[in-house]
Symmetry: C2
Subunit: 426 residues, 2 copies
């Protein structure tokens, strides 16, 4: 497609989504929930056509020599379908965020001023590989009263097209405009460039994928972007701590799963407790094959741990998201030093303090500048489902609008409502 | 200054602001309020040195042949000083937004999840002419626990420098870091380019000034921008309406002041009520010298009004912010048509419906996609002070983060707090 044709195609998709977004904004809760339940039914009944589309993507990926884990991420097996269908039903069962009016206060002028939660309008979702994101994004769009424009990875294009048709049918079933969920059918990379430069088409872009993709989109976008960059999460073990709790939580934060963004990547330990705590956690890490990148002081305390893989940490380690069985470890002299280290080297994603000292807990909560701050809990809890959001469209490392897990609320905004009886300004 | 030197200067200012922002984030409410009261005292006692600095700017502006209203906007007379000093005391008397914890809920896992209001960090404020903005921005920064970097207009540089010294002294008086409020001392235009491309220095940019300035900043910024573009505000007079109320509110929305962004620029009238309403409001506008740019149907109804200045509206009129004694007028057949017109031609700033019909009021509130939506009240109420925000740093026409008047809350964000007792993810 020529660049002009591509630009026209994106503009056409944008106009259709924008028009549908007005209908979605005023759609009844009943219609939106019916669309979600219809989508769940249609997913479960999709059978052969969906499987065939998915098989095409998998065959192409295998022919292109994609690594096995990458191919696996494309697979829409029975279990994946069951999970996304259940997700649609869960979202249907949640309260509708749209239309909620809060904080109405009477002002001296006589007017009442409050806020109403409303959809953002149209969001653009740019994602890689996993085709189930197509359904997750569409279902959150439907419930939040938004339209959306989806752009999945080219390796999943046939699966995404098949899933998209189910979404459009489900919208139609419920009397809602099928145009509310758009999918960019061309796999031409330049389409993304047009989309992120079209404020008339999209109100916000949500990229999900590698850091390179997100940085490029943030750099080139002419519309707001809800970004998810690194998850360089810290666990800080304070001086006054329950050692058994610290051991259990630190272990979980690092080793329960290595690949999620909310897994711990760095362990800070107060000097006062380090001689007792470090050899114990070191033994746990050694047993699980977790490599420890240590400052000199922590290395000295870990030297006696049988089987420990100890490496001298470099400055770069403090800022690294490993997403692997590797953790950086450093002793600190004080809570102040821990907070300063996290604010300097962290990625403002999720950080936890393990402590029994109330003032330390409160200062950590207040002063660590991260989307999620935790006391005596595993960083692995930073997740839309665990937080009660029902589902998440992404995890934001931005400070404005939405921080941390972004659910239905993050896809809405608050406008001001003023209720008067003919008041005028004097 | 060479571009390299300028870049280094902005980086230095940014580092100082960033360091101070951490101290401001943990500053006590008492210290912040004391700084604000000290600033009020210092403003009232500023006397000759401030007057001399201001006189230099005014002399330079007059020598440069600036128009009289532009020169007037530079003037720091006794009344302006009294107003900004009082503003500081009002902000001191407001509740501290920082540290507030809300919505804490117990989750099935055992953790409690809530949200804490925290400062954004460092905001950059880019503004033109009026030097009092220096104090307004500094006082909102202090109370919200942020640091800020100010960049005023070159025509007010001496006044701004003098005011800035008072701010720094007031911060020092209260034991807070004077570096928390930075002012870019060079009037080199390229400094703005460096500032808005420095995410490490500023978390958000708030431009205040002409549309050209704001569009340029939004286009070139590499950090988030809280934008205030047009205020093309509508009054829609519904079919079922109290005519006396409609007359009073429409008059006030258009004529109480012509220059503010919340003044009405367009009047939509339901066809059923137009024959009774239009001649009456037309007579008011005629008496006040307000030019009416009409569609054919409204022009026909206004033709008999003595002294009415009637002009045929062009398509461009529906999207124009006049900021002058001019209003566009159009008849509509239905509420739907009114809402569609506003969403298409408006600027998503402030729009009002005048009606006695409850379903119309509710649909207007819900479906008009603007930062402020009003029922039976003048659009002129869209203002931080009238909404109870105490003061406003600007009015946002964005959808994300902050919509409409932005006060202390818009300078903060909500982070997630998780309170556990050793819970782990399973």
């Amino acid at each position: 497609m020529s660049d002009t044709d591509l630009s026209a195609a994106i503009a056409r998709i944008g106009r259709a989504a924008r028009a549908a977004s007005h209908e979605m904004a005023r759609a009844s809760t009943a219609a939106k929930d019916e669309a979600l339940r219809a989508l769940a039914r249609r997913l479960r009944a999709a059978g052969a056509p969906l499987a065939a589309a998915n098989a095409r993507d998998i065959a192409a990926a295998e022919a292109a020599g994609l690594a096995a884990p990458m191919v696996d991420r494309l697979r829409l097996g029975e279990k994946v379908i069951a999970t996304v269908a259940e997700g649609c039903e869960q979202i249907a069962a949640m309260p509708d965020p749209v239309g909620e009016i809060s904080d109405v206060k009477r002002r001296p002028s006589g007017i009442s001023v409050g806020r109403m939660r409303v959809p953002l309008g149209v969001f653009g979702m740019i994602y890689e590989s996993r085709p189930n994101v197509t359904i997750e994004a569409a279902s959150l769009a439907i419930k939040s009263g938004n339209a959306c424009i989806l752009r999945g990875g080219s390796e999943a294009i046939h699966s995404n097209l098949a899933l998209w048709r189910l979404v459009q049918d489900a919208l139609f079933d419920a009397g809602l405009p099928p145009e509310a969920v758009q999918l960019i059918e061309t796999t031409d990379r330049a389409a993304v460039g047009h989309l992120i430069a079209s404020p008339e088409a999209v109100d916000v872009i949500i990229p999900r994928g590698g850091k390179g993709l997100i940085e490029r989109i943030a750099r080139e976008a002419r519309v707001p972007v809800i970004k998810h960059l690194d998850g360089n999460c810290h666990v800080y073990v304070d001086a006054q701590v329950n050692l058994a709790l610290a051991l259990k939580v630190t272990d979980n934060a690092k080793t329960q799963k290595y690949s999620p963004c909310n897994a711990a990547e760095s362990l800070l330990v107060h000097r006062a407790v380090a001689p007792r705590f470090l050899p114990e956690i070191g033994a746990v890490f050694a047993a699980k094959g977790v490599e420890m990148r240590c400052d000199a002081d922590s290395r000295a305390l870990l030297a006696g741990v049988p089987g420990a893989q100890l490496v001298d940490a470099t400055e770069a380690d403090w800022a690294t998201e490993y997403l692997a069985p590797v953790i950086s470890i450093k002793l600190v002299d004080s809570l102040d030093q821990a907070i300063a280290h996290i604010n300097r080297h962290g990625s403002h994603h999720t950080d936890a303090i393990l402590t029994e000292h109330h003032p330390s807990a409160m200062r950590f909560l207040r002063e660590v500048d991260s989307a999620s701050v935790m006391v005596n809990a595993s960083t692995r809890f930073a997740d839309g489902f665990e937080y009660g959001l029902g589902a998440e469209i992404g995890i934001s490392t931005d400070k404005l609008h939405a921080r941390g897990p972004v659910g239905l609320e993050g896809l809405t905004s608050l406008k001001w409502v003023v209720l008067g009886q003919g008041e005028v300004r004097t």
